[in-house]
């Protein structure tokens, strides 16, 4: 196990370096001049003297290898700052990473509870009205783009609710406030819960559908396997067959998906974060990309990639717990 973990961490570090290099090269391949963007070139042409000063200030006139090393050092040490706003990136990470994690954790809870239970119910009541309804429902939800879903939710629970004087408890804020109202860093206060519900639902929507469909399929496969038939033949109670023999086997691919999806939710919740104004990592990277803010793009992307890699590692380790046939550390 230890060898496996060390090898995977080494592999993750190489992936991070590769990712850094690709992002760095792509940044310099962009057609726009970063100095011009930083100098405020969007609405007018900044004078050449200003562009020159910006170029010098941010060392954009250094050779590419020099800039590569400088930015790599800043990224590794989290010592850089935004070109545009001069926020130290370590502060950005301190404030934004917890927000991304909170949103991802709550979205994942929705994904796990709603997705797995819907999948299990569908599988147990195969071809029933409930199964058909959940199949249709999940198909509809997964077909609605995140933007539209978010807009509709806000319009109904925010604008419509206000204009039709719904009671206070039935109304939800249009925009989120993620920085206040947390107990132990992760449990929302009642007020924060109102801000959290909609982004968490939207972020979880597509993944929940996938988990439900995946659970249903793997449950049906597992239910038809020899060991489940044997368990039933031995006279085990149905609940025990379901939990110990069917569900445990069926969950292996589901756990894989959820683990990877968690990493994705932390770093790639760009649309949800943007629409609801949730101050996480994803929306910040997106903004930085549009502003040629290289230090932000590089450092936050590396954080996201590292989380993604660690989530993958945890999934691999969890295989061994769920399925004793899997041995980590390589074959002899």
């Amino acid at each position: 196990m230890t060898t496996f973990v060390i090898r995977r961490i080494g592999s993750l570090l190489l992936t991070l370096l590769g990712g850094y290099t690709v992002l760095f090269i792509l940044f310099f391949a962009l057609p726009s001049d970063p100095a011009e963007v930083i100098a405020g070139g969007n609405g007018k042409n900044p004078p050449a003297a200003v562009i020159e000063n910006v170029t010098k200030k941010y060392h954009l006139d250094d050779s590419i290898p020099e800039q590569y090393v400088r930015r790599l050092w800043d990224t590794v040490t989290l010592g850089g700052e935004s070109f545009q706003t001069h926020e130290p990136l370590v502060e950005t990470i301190k404030t934004r990473l917890p927000n991304s994690l909170r949103l991802a954790v709550w979205a994942m809870l929705i994904e796990v509870t709603v997705g797995i239970s819907t999948g299990v119910l569908s599988a147990r009541r195969r071809n029933s009205l409930l199964d058909t309804a959940s199949t249709l429902g999940t198909a509809v939800v997964s077909a609605i783009p995140v933007f539209v879903l978010a807009y509709l939710l806000r319009q109904v629970t925010g604008v419509y609710a206000f204009q039709h004087q719904w009671p206070e408890w039935a109304r939800f804020p249009v925009l989120s406030e993620a920085n206040h109202g947390w107990y132990l860093g992760i449990i929302p206060s009642l007020d924060q819960l109102k801000h959290l519900v909609q982004p968490a639902l939207v972020l979880a929507s597509v993944s929940t559908v996938i988990v439900a469909r995946l659970t249903r399929t793997t449950m049906l496969e597992a239910a038809g396997s020899d060991h489940v038939r044997t368990a039933r033949a031995k006279g085990l109670r149905e609940r025990r067959v379901l939990t110990r023999h069917t569900l445990r086997n069926a969950l292996i691919p589901v756990v894989t998906f959820i683990g990877i999806d968690f990493g994705t939710m932390v770093g790639f919740a760009i649309l949800t974060e943007t629409v609801f104004g949730w101050p996480g990592l994803g929306s910040r990277v997106a903004r930085a990309a549009s502003q040629s803010d290289l230090p932000v793009v590089l450092t936050l992307s590396m954080v996201v990639m590292a989380i993604y890699g660690v989530a993958n590692l945890i999934v691999d380790i969890s295989y061994a717990k769920l399925d004793p046939r899997i041995r980590l550390g390589g074959a002899k």
Binding site: E52, R154, V159, V174, G277
Partner: protein, 582 residues
């Protein structure tokens, strides 16, 4: 001052997703900066009131909190509200609430603004407008209790022009003698700015005559800074407390979250010594500027009962105007137009003046206004908008849509040997509503003159690309005043000095240059206005080098219980006047 690009950053979002996904390997306006409403056709709403009187209620209720959703509704673009670094009109709403400058325009009569001393008691100029002496009022102090001395201006100005700060507006310091050496880093301090803290005078020697300098000094770059704050921040800047924050205006900063989410909170500055209209205390106790991702979200929040104001998103002007109090009729100092390429072989030069006249008269400005802006903008009768000292209406002879006259003049041009052999190229910055404007122009040219024209959208770095030699045949431009002077339009947009910069058509006319040079030297306000106007008339009617289309108006809604919410022409709200009924 640049207006921000509005809207969501979908291309950037998708691009970033793609970048990170690629790196991970196994993972699942505008464009121009001006307000760009979308494509909606409705009946023409009431036109803007070109000239207004800003009568602020003086008996408004005191106290309360105003929650703003209008000013920081494109949060990802926020960079700084530090006076020497602020770039956008939106962020400068905070800057102007936190600071007062040497001078300030009194916009009681919006078409006849009067420049008045503010932190300065008075100013004097020498005969050729190259030397100014500002006398600073003795009772002024910053919100931290530090007295305001002339040296607070000197350090601010030198900071604003410094190479280290690399401010977008640092070039304004080039008006001051040797200011260009601050910009290139060869000087750190200027002998041309002499601050005498005992005599309370600030003496400035300019690089060239400029009678507009007292007006230019009203721009945020020239606001004073606290020495304590400067010692902490120096020649660096950033969002919130990463930049200079201690001001001398009606409000002071209480807190600021990250630039793209959260809020900026201002509270009443009890050390404020009063404004131009004689008021001694701002009405509100607190202003909270909410930072949102885009105008649409902020407006939705307003519709859901949050906040006291919001910017109206594209395409919702008529609906918003029907429901809420708004600023849609309030003219601001923005102008939207197209340049002709001055040296373009097809449309440029003396021999093509009649072609340019015909093109200008063929464009249906009213159709554009209805289609794109729901009739909210004002059809322009020149480049320089009302609200600029020296402005006069109806300067332009060829800005009225007149198909018959356009056809006649076009036929004359053809008779004189003029011939178009290829479609005209209508260049614009891709995105926003410019495409609809250009398509309307294309249809007008075909319908009225039978001229083929080709839209030429430019995706990246439009202003840089189009400013290059030979790039502009007919190209979109627009401008929002940095400070309310005629020169800010004539010199910055059409002066020879602005070629390769914001003079996109590369206009270079000797008579025009003579007129603006004379205007810059002229210290008499009336005569200076006459000279600038003669320059504009040369541009509009003799060389016919631009197609003015419209002047901008406000685009905000606000609650019924808000008092004194008005947009002065320069666009920055006088926050000390804004009040709220409980």
């Amino acid at each position: 001052m640049v207006r921000k690009r509005r809207g969501l950053y979908i291309p950037a979002l998708l691009f970033t997703v793609a970048l990170i996904a690629a790196a991970c390997g196994d993972s699942k306006e505008s464009s121009d900066g001006d307000a760009s409403p979308g494509d909606v056709t409705t009946t023409t709403a009431a036109r803007s009131d070109v000239c207004r009187t800003l009568n602020y209620a003086t008996d408004a209720p005191v106290g309360g909190e105003f929650v703003d959703y209008a000013q920081l509704a494109s949060g990802g673009d926020n960079t700084s509200f530090d006076p020497q670094a602020v770039q956008t009109l939106d962020e400068s709403q905070i800057t102007t609430a936190l600071w007062d400058g040497l001078t300030e325009f009194d916009y009681t009569d919006t078409c006849n603004p009067v420049l008045k001393p503010q932190v300065a008691e008075k100013w004097e100029a020498n005969d050729d407008a190259t030397e100014y002496t500002f006398t600073i009022r003795k009772d002024q102090e910053f919100s931290n209790g530090e007295p305001i001395k002339p040296s607070n201006f000197k350090i601010a100005w030198e900071r604003g022009g410094s190479a280290e700060l690399a401010s977008s507006y640092g070039y304004l310091m080039a008006y001051v003698k040797d200011g260009d050496k601050l910009l290139d880093g060869s000087l750190k301090t200027l002998d041309s700015i002499v601050a005498d803290d005992d005599a309370m005078t600030l003496k400035v020697t300019l690089a060239a005559p400029n009678a507009d300098f007292p007006a230019i000094a009203s721009f945020p770059l020239f606001y004073p800074i606290s020495k304590a704050d400067y010692q902490k921040v120096g020649n660096t800047t950033g969002w919130g407390t990463k930049g200079i924050t201690i001001g001398n205006g009606p409000y002071k900063l209480e807190s600021a979250t990250a630039p793209d989410s959260g809020e900026v909170v201002l509270v009443r500055n009890d050390k404020w010594k009063g404004g131009l209209t004689g008021m001694k205390r701002p009405f509100l106790d607190k202003i909270t500027f909410k930072i949102t991702a885009d105008v649409e979200s902020a407006y939705q929040a307003f519709e859901a009962g949050d906040g006291d104001d919001a910017t109206i998103p594209s395409g919702q002007y008529a609906a918003a105007a029907a429901k809420y109090k708004n600023t849609l009729k309030e003219a601001t100092l923005g102008t939207y137009f197209f340049d002709f390429g001055f040296d373009d072989p097809v449309v440029g030069g003396d021999k093509n003046v009649k072609l340019r006249e015909a093109i200008s008269m063929a464009i249906d400005r009213d159709e554009i206004n209805k289609k794109v802006y729901e009739g909210t903008r004002t059809i322009s009768t020149g480049i320089t908008p009302p609200g600029i000292p020296g402005f006069k209406e109806n300067l332009c002879k060829y800005c009225k849509t007149d198909p018959a006259e356009a056809k006649k003049v076009y036929a004359e041009w053809q008779k004189e040997g003029g011939k178009l052999t290829a479609p005209l190229k209508l260049s614009y910055n891709a995105g926003g509503s410019h495409q609809t404007v250009v398509e309307t122009m294309q249809a007008n040219l075909k319908d009225v003159l039978g001229i083929d024209a080709q839209p030429n959208p430019i995706e990246e770095s439009y202003f840089k690309v189009i400013a290059k030699e030979g790039a502009c045949q007919i190209c979109r431009s627009g401008w929002y005043a940095d400070y309310p002077t005629y020169g800010n339009f004539m010199v910055d947009l059409f002066g020879k000095v602005s070629i390769d910069g914001n003079n996109l058509g590369r206009y270079d006319d000797a008579k025009f240059e003579e007129a603006i040079a004379a205007a810059q030297k002229e210290t008499d306000d009336t005569k200076r206005g006459d000279l600038y106007r003669s320059a504009e008339e040369r541009l509009l009617n003799e060389t016919v080098s631009v197609i003015p289309l419209n002047w901008y108006t406000g685009d905000a809604v606000y609650r019924d219980n808000i008092i004194n919410y008005m947009t002065p022409p320069l666009g920055t709200i006088a926050w000390e006047h804004v009040a709220k009924k409980s």
